[in-house]
């Protein structure tokens, strides 16, 4: 697996060369957009990281993990990822801030750190997406859409706990 990323990057560049894409210009244009994303995310990080730090320093986070953690552990998901799991369906930038704290606490290459990363990458902001999409279509009764999305998220989370044990 360590070669997956370099191969992918090589393929993207080689394919771009074959299709005669002005590679350098395209890359620079995209990079500029990416910088914009970092700027867009910054206010959310400034909003979330202090309240997360407060939850940690005050002992509230440890309290939460002690009481709700066993539920996750029973499902095969490390208890340290609980705060991330709670924030993930609500907001992408808030959970990015939470993932940063989790990785700093448990280490990015530890089992819990890899599960947290997998959780983050394999799920979406369910409630935000639902609110946005249903609002746009003027839908008030979403029927089974939300339960199905939550089931998908749970299945992905449990899978993350198991898959990280294998790989």
């Amino acid at each position: 697996m360590p070669n997956a990323m370099p191969v992918l990057i090589g393929l993207v560049i080689a394919y771009g060369l074959i299709r005669r894409v002005p590679l350098y210009d395209a890359f620079v244009r995209g990079a500029k957009q990416g910088l914009g994303v970092a700027v867009d995310v910054l206010p959310f990080l400034v909003a979330m990281l202090p309240v997360i730090a407060l939850m940690e320093a005050s002992g509230a986070m440890a309290f939460l993990v002690r009481f709700l953690g066993p539920v996750l552990t029973a499902l095969g998901i490390p208890a340290e990822t609980l705060p991330l799991m709670l924030l993930r369906p609500l907001s992408g930038s808030a959970s990015l801030a939470m993932l940063e704290r989790t990785l700093t606490l448990v280490g990015p290459d530890s089992y819990a750190g890899r599960v947290a990363s997998t959780l983050m990458g394999s799920s979406e902001t369910i409630f935000y997406t639902a609110a946005l999409y249903l609002g746009a279509a003027g839908v008030r009764r979403s029927r089974h859409a939300i339960p199905a999305a939550i089931l998908a998220w749970l299945a992905g989370s449990i899978a993350a706990g198991w898959v990280c044990r294998i790989f």
Partner: protein, 193 residues
Amino acid sequence: MMSFAWATLALTGVAFAMAGGLGGEVPGTMLRAAMDAVSLAIRLAGGFAFWSGLMAIVEDSGLARSLARLLAKPLSRLFPGVPMAGEAGQAITMNLTANILGLGNAATPMGLKAMRLLGGEARDAVATDAMCLFLVLNASSVQLLPTSVIALRAASGSAEPASILLPTLIATTISTVVGVAACILLTRRGRHA
């Protein structure tokens, strides 16, 4: 909803800090975290820019169009009532293609358009089967490359930031399959009831 979550976190933290006699540390803790947020954003900016640059090459090389062609057949199975060549079908295909490639900026406007077009046939503001399934596909991640997670892992000093690629792909596939299956099963149950 986010206001409520944010306020809950802040108030719980303040209450716990005061109960534990740590009230004096609250301002320092919060301000240090705010400063950390800025340095984190700066470290993340490099990774975001790099991936976004590569994705721009993917976009320009027409990979998105090839992927959209590839998706047309399975999608027409999932959305039996929606002709994939029609306007709504096109919007669905383009939204999912952008999501798979992680082009969030392109995905959302297309998704909203698809939802509005699908909504044209909805009665009394009730979501149709197609709308539910489309929402579930968008709410369960289908992104192939978790670029922002890889950038964040690199910023956190991971020795192998991309090592979560395969686990993420597997977890995301399981999640999407379960979501689609749940959607189809719940649709059937709704019809028989």
